[in-house]
Each structure stands twice: as structure tokens, then as C-alpha cells.
């Protein structure tokens, strides 16, 4: 018996996991999302290194000091980098294809994560011809505001 190999391959068992969470947005990001409802993009400024953070940070990770100054930043910016995503996996918010982008909004010092849309994204060659490094983009607001990142529907190309 001991030497006999099992006739069938060991099987696999299906399992699924869902867990609910209640996550604190915090006063800092709450203020940012309230700003979006009014079609304003707000950032915070570090008094030591003078960098302007969007999304706002309540502290500067480098200088490790409180960021107390709020500023409204531009709704246009330049493309720092982008990609064209054809990938789909469970839990993903946007359906492919979509174009994630990092925009350096006017008046800020770092890339802000969002998406480029507003034209046909189905052919990547066409997308590639239109989306350029350093190219200008502008926030397009969602008519319906919910106080989330999608209050900015997407960034459109400025031509």
C-alpha cells in the first residue's frame, strides 16, 4: 500500500475571500475631496523644502515637519509619464484599455496619478501618436460630484 502512488493527481480546492473595511480618510484628504466637489484641486506646502504636494500630505516625508499651508494648484499640467494598459485582473477599477498618467499639475512639484481619456483608446498606435511626454493635459470634471478621485473624470489632452 505504502509504495502505491495515488491514481489521481492531488486536487485543488476553490476558496474565495471577502473582508469589509471602514477606512478613515483623515482630515487632510477629506479637505482635498471637499475641494474636488467645488472643482478645486488643493495641495499642501512644506515650509522647509517648499515642495507642494498633490495629493496633499499633512507632513513632508523628507523634512518630517507638519505641512500647514494649503494652496490651490492648477487644473492643467504636463505629462510626466504614462502607459497604455491592456491588463485586467479582479478588483481593478477601470476596464482596459485605459491610460494611466502621472501629471505634474501647474504649481506642484510631483506627479499626480490619474488617467487620460476623452478620445478613442481602442487602438494603441493612435493613442501613442496623441499622448506625448511633456504634453499638456487638463482636468475634466464629472458633473456629479461624490467627493472621490473620480470627481475629476479624467484628464484631456490640450491641443
Amino acid at each position: 500500500m505504502a509504495d502505491e502512488k495515488p491514481k489521481e493527481k492531488p486536487r485543488e480546492m476553490r476558496a474565495e475571500v471577502t473582508v469589509p473595511y471602514e477606512m478613515a480618510v483623515g482630515s487632510n484628504w477629506h479637505r482635498f475631496f471637499e475641494g474636488l466637489k467645488e472643482e478645486k484641486i488643493l495641495g499642501t506646502k512644506c515650509r522647509k523644502c517648499n515642495r507642494i504636494f498633490v495629493p496633499p500630505r499633512s507632513f513632508c516625508p523628507r523634512c518630517f515637519d507638519d505641512n500647514e499651508e494649503w494652496v490651490e494648484v492648477g487644473q492643467e499640467g504636463r505629462i510626466e509619464t504614462w502607459c497604455y494598459s491592456n491588463l485586467m485582473f479582479p478588483g481593478q477599477t477601470l476596464k482596459p484599455p485605459f491610460v494611466p498618467v502621472q501629471v505634474v499639475l501647474d504649481g506642484t512639484d510631483m506627479g499626480f496619478q490619474h488617467r487620460i481619456a476623452g478620445f478613442d483608446l481602442s487602438d494603441f498606435e493612435k493613442v501613442r501618436a496623441l499622448v506625448k511626454f511633456g504634453g499638456r493635459v487638463r482636468a475634466v470634471w464629472n458633473k456629479e460630484k461624490k467627493g472621490t478621485i473620480f470627481d475629476i473624470d479624467y484628464f484631456e489632452l490640450v491641443t
Binding site: P20, M23, G26, R57, S58, F59, R62
Partner: protein, 378 residues
């Protein structure tokens, strides 16, 4: 061994914070650095403690915790449990490669589902999980065995709750602060028989941070260094059925820490003990294994009153984990309370006697599968 000490520490109070995880973390690590007069970039190394059980719905918590812990471009790492993080920090100093290590542990219980929704993920998916084994059901089985084999009564277990929550009344950092009686405990809802609701730790939030420093440096960063004398950890079998639930690995872990610290008679030499007791009876069982009383004498120990705040061997003057249970952080909370007792800064929950040596203990896994402890000295 290179001498090292806890130079500064800070902890958040047990109340629910409206701040997000990142800001919550920043506030506490910043407090420690400010107390020490140290810049973030001057810290030799950062060790973060957080959980991989999707606490706050996030995986790889070291990523979001990094900024608030002050770790930007500083040598750093992350451990799964705060006792692990602290012990690893000790090793980094002992290696001679670093003079200071900032250890920060992060849990935001208010964002998480019930503790056991998450501890259920410790279970293997084939045997234990389908059977509903989680930390509470495992502890209930352990408690029944303890009561049977050692003649421990439900009243004796309930007394631990009365004592610890009573102590917590004096601790502004505790989460559950209410006076209860033995009857209250015995009459509280049965969670998993014989465990009653008041005998089980709550779900708390807590960020705690400790600045550990090598001898020379510690003396510059504080006038009250609390020295690390020894540490130990040990791991038991995974399957509950493979284990003797009353004689696990704590004795072995303690033996390691005692040997390192040169402690021969813990009952006499440990002035105060901060013990991780997510379930009331575990304080009694762990006291036995730590040598604070004889095997099977945990019941007598609580009856005698010596573990009361003003007794000869106070246990959990902070109120323990029954009063404050930020899962991963609870080890650092034990260490911080021990350090406060040694430096005489515990205020209303300062014990009556002079504290020279203190013990801080942590455990995680089903029925104490893994134990860790650290010995501190004034």
C-alpha cells in the same frame, strides 16, 4: 553583548482616531524623535511592525507606513509583529552596524473587521478554517483544558479581567476603561464557551514607537535609559492537535531571555510583568510558564493578590491587552509600559514598589503558538 537601551517612546491612546493611517503613524514617530531631539535623517535605521492580514484593507503595509515612520531613504525594514520588530532592532544594534533604531508599530483597529475575521486567516484552508478555528475558538479549547487539568475556576479567570480593567482606569492610553465585577464578567455573553465576552480583548487602534540606542548614544538621548537585558522567542507546532496547549513554548522562550539577562529566579527578580493576555485565563497560564508561580498555580496566584497593582509582583499595571489590543502593536505597548514603570513615569498606574527589572511579553497565533519576551532593567 553591546549594551543598548530604550531612549524614548510614544504611544497613541486607545480612542478611535479620525486620522488616516499615514498621518496617525507620523504623529507618534514624530513625537519620539522630537523628545530625543533627533532629526529623521539622523536615525540609523527604521524597523516598522505591521501585519500582513490586510489590516486596513492594505497589503504590504510597510509601503504606506514608510513615510509616517520617517523611513524615507533611511536604512530600514519591516517585521510581522512588534516584538519581532523590537528584537530585530536589538540585533541590528548588537551587530555594531547601527547606533540608533526607530521601531514603530501600526494598527488601526477601527478600520478592520472583527479580530477573528482576520485571525481566521492564520488557519490552513483545508482543515482548521472550514472547522471555524480562529484565535478565540482555539483559546476557548485551551481554557477548558486549563480549567480541567489545573482546577482553575471561572471566577479565578474573571478576576484577571476585574484586576486589569481596574488598572486601566488609571491608564490614559488604555482603550477599555470601566470598572467591572466578577459577576459582570461571568454574566457577560458567552463568546465561545467557556470564554465570556469580557474575558476577550477588544479591537483597538494603536501606534507605538520606541527609539532604541546603543549605550553611548542612549545616554545622550535621555537621562533615563531603560536597558535591554535579554530577549527570547519560540515557536510551537501549527496543528492544535500536535500541541500540549498547557505546556507550549513560553517556558522555552522565557528560558532564553532569562539566560541572556542572567535571571535565575524570575519570581524574585522580576519586579513587574506586562503580559500579553488577549484572553483572561492566559495571564494565569503565561505567569506559570514565565516562572512567576509554580505550574498549575495560576489560580492561586490571582487569589493571593500578589499580581495586583499594589501587590508584591504586579502583572499588567497598564491594564494589559484586555484593556488595549492593537493586534500587532501590543508588544510595543507592553515594552513601553515596562519602560515607564522602570523610569517611574507611569503616573496613576505606577506600581507601589521600586522597579528595577521588568518583563514584557508578546504572543500571537492560536493559543500562544508563538511567544516573545524582552527583559528590561533600570
Amino acid at each position: 553583548m553591546r549594551k543598548m537601551a530604550i531612549a524614548q517612546f510614544a504611544q497613541s491612546a486607545g480612542v478611535e482616531s479620525k486620522e488616516n493611517l499615514m498621518d496617525f503613524t507620523y504623529r507618534i514617530s514624530k513625537e519620539v524623535l522630537d523628545k530625543a531631539g533627533l532629526k529623521r535623517s539622523e536615525v540609523g535605521c527604521v524597523v516598522i511592525a505591521s501585519s500582513d492580514i490586510f489590516h486596513s484593507g492594505l497589503s504590504c503595509a510597510n509601503a504606506i507606513d514608510w513615510d509616517g515612520a520617517g523611513a524615507f531613504m533611511v536604512e530600514g525594514t519591516r517585521a510581522e509583529d512588534s516584538m519581532f520588530a523590537f528584537i530585530y532592532a536589538c540585533m541590528r544594534i548588537m551587530s555594531g552596524h547601527f547606533d540608533t533604531v526607530l521601531v514603530t508599530s501600526i494598527v488601526k483597529g477601527s478600520e478592520n473587521p472583527e479580530n477573528d475575521t482576520l485571525t481566521g486567516f492564520f488557519a490552513d484552508p483545508f482543515y482548521m478554517r472550514p472547522l471555524g478555528i480562529n484565535e478565540t475558538t482555539a483559546a476557548a479549547m485551551q481554557m477548558r483544558e486549563y480549567m480541567q487539568r489545573c482546577n482553575i475556576t471561572e471566577e479565578q479567570c474573571a478576576k484577571v479581567v476585574v484586576k486589569n480593567l481596574g488598572n486601566a482606569l488609571f491608564n490614559p492610553y488604555a482603550h477599555v476603561r470601566k470598572r467591572v465585577t466578577v459577576d459582570d464578567v461571568l454574566n457577560s455573553d458567552v463568546v465561545s464557551d467557556p470564554l465570556k465576552a469580557l474575558e476577550c480583548a477588544p479591537k483597538s487602534e494603536g501606534v507605538a514607537s520606541i527609539l532604541l540606542a546603543a549605550e553611548d548614544k542612549a545616554k545622550k538621548l535621555t537621562d533615563k535609559p531603560v536597558w535591554v537585558k535579554g530577549f527570547g522567542t519560540s515557536m510551537d507546532h501549527f496543528n492544535l492537535g500536535d500541541r500540549d496547549l498547557l505546556n507550549g513554548q513560553l517556558k522555552i522562550a522565557a528560558g532564553r531571555a532569562y539566560k541572556m539577562a542572567g535571571i535565575r529566579n524570575p519570581k524574585k527578580e522580576i519586579d513587574v510583568a506586562e503580559i500579553c493576555e488577549p484572553y483572561a485565563f492566559q495571564e494565569l497560564l503565561w505567569c506559570e510558564k514565565l516562572g512567576l508561580c509554580g505550574d498549575g498555580e495560576g489560580g492561586k496566584l490571582i487569589d493571593s493578590g500578589v499580581t495586583q497593582m499594589h501587590g508584591a509582583s504586579p502583572v499588567n499595571p497598564s491594564g494589559g491587552v484586555l484593556a488595549m489590543n492593537p493586534y500587532v502593536s501590543r508588544g510595543l505597548y507592553r515594552l513601553i509600559e515596562s519602560a515607564m514603570q522602570i523610569s517611574g513615569s507611569a503616573g496613576g498606574h505606577q506600581v507601589d514598589k521600586k522597579v528595577k527589572t521588568a518583563l514584557a511579553h508578546g504572543t500571537h497565533g492560536f493559543a500562544g503558538q508563538c511567544h516573545s519576551l524582552v527583559i528590561l532593567e533600570g
